[in-house]
Symmetry: C2
Subunit: 330 residues, 2 copies
């Protein structure tokens, strides 16, 4: 039996990204909402892929990216997510294990292929995502490694899981197992459209089961149906132990009990592709948190990790992240 | 019937690249020869992949990269190469069609999977390639679209094809079809180890069937078993209409009849990954040649196209290549 203590276990949709450059005219032609994550079916995925330019494939998935970030920073982690036993599933499995993350969720042996996310990156570095969930839709309670969850200081989950009932059930079971073992539970709201789809049950979830919440300004405003970030900050206080709220170039704000910690954004020489920015912010924060750092330091590590990932194409770190953070922290 | 005139048809091993960063210690551990292309079997491919870091997948194959470059420059082209009807084969097919290249070679419906090339990029930007040929080994005369070859001003082939007897037979049949239609035939020597494996038959081939030859300094020296580039230059003259010989940072030399044209290398701000340098040099040269440019201009376009591809990770153009070349040509 493996009884090694882990820092973070991530649970999410196991996805291979297909990244391509596109212009605004292409988004318009295809009726795509810039910056959003849209769920698409197999037929639409095929039509959109046919219309897209040449792509680059890389393992993705929000929580998968976060776990790759935690590992790159030196943290120990595990991942739970569902691929199919096909070539893309093999790629996902290889890449997450190659960075040192435990990944033992058995792949599906029948049914739809491994999930893919068609990502258009426009010249303004924004990413627009279209996800065919494929095998990931079958993620359910039966896939949870509860022992792994109990070994982890934090269990981190994507809001995206809330789109599928079995994954939602898995979420609740995982949260109960983590709390039962005296561990923490963390959630990212993932996407403002995802929040719109599931607002009521997200609010219930956060109040009852979430210790650390991640959200960007759009998501937190959508959650509380308010127009201003300040209002959202007031509303979220007390709902969970810590809320880390990101605001792009304006940095982030960490709200915890009576405390409010402002963290500046990290400057980047060249903004290339925002894919993975939120995922790596969460990675940096969770790494800092599980190492016992102050909230400000957690936010700083988070911002630096996010800065690295937006300075190149793709959603996972491309440079040795621990050294990058160390150098910038000074 | 499609009777559109094409600039170039490329014939080659249809391969998906798996690019990963690696250090010299990893190459040593794995017994890899830096800078070379080594053929590996399925078992070795699996073991090496398991040992590698996380990868990025992108369509590759030497002639495939060249054709993507020709298309990016504004040329019209076709490609002949064998994939399997699997996910990686779908990726290869999508990417080459997405840039506007005709690709109709039927995928294999049984047998080994689509070829992959495990590429380690070391901090010195050198690439070390390990190719599992998979379905590409079945490329043979039956896969040739002779009508497409007759429509193309130049039929361009990889020396790598010489490693497999059916591909070699296809090569000779394609060359005969091209010449029968009054077209030109072009070859790249591909790799000095490949030249060592097939020296005698390459020499016969070049004298009898090649009009435009591409080679780097190591390859041309290996072909003639000489130590100096100057000697190799003397030897190659007269063997074919044009020989374009590349020398990395020292630029290239084009030998044609009594003419010798020297072309400076194009400077790059940051050398990131040399994967595809030779392939894009050939793309630029063939594009210029089929547009009736002077040998010097062909060499210039070639050098600029190569400079673009070595300034980023991956073997195909990542920036709009026609505009990049136009700007640098001045």
């Amino acid at each position: 039996m493996n009884d090694q203590l882990l820092d973070v276990v991530g649970i999410g949709n196991a996805i291979v990204d297909v990244l391509a450059q596109a212009d605004d005219a292409f988004l318009e032609e295809q009726g795509l909402v810039k910056g959003a994550m849209t769920l698409i079916d197999a037929e639409r995925a095929s039509a959109l892929y046919n219309a897209m330019g040449p792509g680059v494939e890389a393992s993705g998935g929000s929580a998968g990216n976060t776990m790759a970030g935690v590992a790159a920073l030196g943290g120990r982690g595990g991942y739970i997510g569902k691929v199919r036993n096909d070539q893309l599933g093999g790629i996902f499995q290889h890449d997450i294990r190659a960075v040192g993350i435990e990944f033992e969720t058995p792949p599906a042996v029948e049914g739809p292929p491994t999930a893919r996310c068609l990502i258009m990156v426009t010249p303004d570095a924004q990413r627009t995502m279209n996800t065919f969930l494929g095998a990931a839709v079958d993620l359910g309670p039966q896939d949870l490694d509860l022992e792994m969850i109990r070994r982890a200081k934090v269990t981190y989950m994507e809001g995206y899981l809330w789109d599928m009932p079995p994954a939602k059930a898995a979420y609740l079971e995982a949260a109960a197992a983590a709390h039962g073992a005296g561990r923490k539970v963390s959630l990212t709201l993932s996407d403002s459209f995802c929040v719109e789809r599931h607002r009521e049950s997200f609010l219930e979830l956060i109040s009852g089961h979430v210790d650390l919440l991640f959200a960007n300004d759009h998501e937190i405003c959508a959650l509380f149906q308010v127009d201003s970030f300040e209002e959202a900050m007031t509303k979220v206080r007390g709902h969970c132990e810590i809320a880390a709220l990101t605001r792009g170039e304006q940095g982030s704000v960490i709200v915890s009990g009576e405390e409010t910690v402002m963290v500046e954004a990290e400057s980047v020489e060249q903004l290339v592709d925002t894919t993975g920015a939120g995922d790596l912010y969460a990675a940096g924060f969770l790494y800092g948190y599980t190492q016992g750092k102050s909230l400000y330091d957690c936010g700083r590590i988070a911002s630096i990790a996010a800065a690295e990932v937006i300075s190149h194409f793709g959603a996972r770190p491309a440079t040795p992240l621990a050294a990058y953070v160390k150098q910038r922290l000074g």
